[in-house]
Symmetry: C2
Subunit: 196 residues, 2 copies
């Protein structure tokens, strides 16, 4: 249980229940009254604090960003980005996290507030991993001016695209290919920021 | 109007109305009775032929695959894949097509039949463009054994990821970066099929 007294405990219980329902039933299965019942929290409290299912999903994404693990720091660009790719694969194939991510991506396509929360979540994750790339630039392993965030996004992009548009598995070969392709593109200067 | 008599005309009208509603209101706004009204087709016909909204979305994706434009063929890998990246950006930023693609991606996260239809749609699109890469392999511009489909998917992946997870625009710089990154990765051998 996370610290912070009753308010924090209520939030943790509600977000866990909301995440469970999203993972099990998708965004359409989400109903604040069900969330309250499952979290064993008063319905009025849930409606007063989160208002709508979109509000709850936005808060869940804020919490996911706050709880997210620190980056790997091996001192090697190859190892760091491979660890990142494997983490993405592990997350997207996890029995709870995988459906949960699909559900929030789906929810974000239809609601601007959810989309903004989803964008913030990914901005936080990308910023956490960007130092791996920035340090490689400083070590002279990647061209000067390489956009670290764009390089990190290049690792995730093919894995999410594979998840959403194909039946192909998110296995270790997929993780290796994603990391290797991003590094090759970065070395070739594909992510060097162009002057304005 | 497409040829094929009354059945084909009914299908065209229903799929157009369904696509319009998806683009305007997202997957949750889709209701077969509304589609029938908008298409000026009997409700019974729509229910008998498509059954459910998921069935209608699956058929819409089949139609989108059948109607999709042939690939560009300039004889240059750089030009062909840049044309592909620009087509993806144009589609995803189109006022009707953009929301329509988001809606079908969202629908696919919650329904296996829609997901299968979405996967078939992308498999058709990727197969249409794969010869650009295969011919570059044959000209010796890319390593022997390069997976042409995976290279084509590498062009689209960062554009879809940008659309779904960021506020960044799908502009010409994004298209150029996507094509350049995919080609650099392919040249470095990142998409060479590994032996089983």
């Amino acid at each position: 249980m996370r610290p912070g007294g009753r308010t924090a405990r209520v939030r943790a219980a509600v977000l866990e229940a909301g995440g469970d329902i999203l993972a099990e039933q998708g965004f359409h299965g989400l109903d604040l009254a069900d969330v309250a019942r499952r979290a064993e929290v008063g319905k009025t409290t849930v409606y007063r604090r989160w208002g709508t299912v979109d509000g709850l999903v936005a808060d869940l994404l804020t919490d996911m960003a706050e709880q997210s693990l620190p980056r790997t720091d091996t001192g090697s660009l190859e190892e760091d980005l491979l660890a990142n790719a494997r983490l993405v694969c592990r997350t997207l194939t996890d029995p709870r996290q995988g459906p949960l991510f699909k559900a929030v991506i789906a929810a974000a396509t239809g609601d601007a507030r959810t989309a903004a929360a989803l964008h913030r979540f990914y901005a936080v994750r990308v910023a956490q991993w960007a130092p791996c790339v920035q340090e490689a630039v400083e070590r002279g392993e990647l061209p000067e001016g390489t956009d670290a965030a764009e390089t990190v996004r290049a690792v995730s992009a093919p894995l999410y695209y594979r998840l959403l548009t194909t039946d192909a598995p998110l296995d270790d070969a997929a993780a290796r290919q994603a990391a290797a392709a991003a590094i090759a593109a970065a070395r070739a200067g594909a992510f060097v920021r162009t002057p304005l």
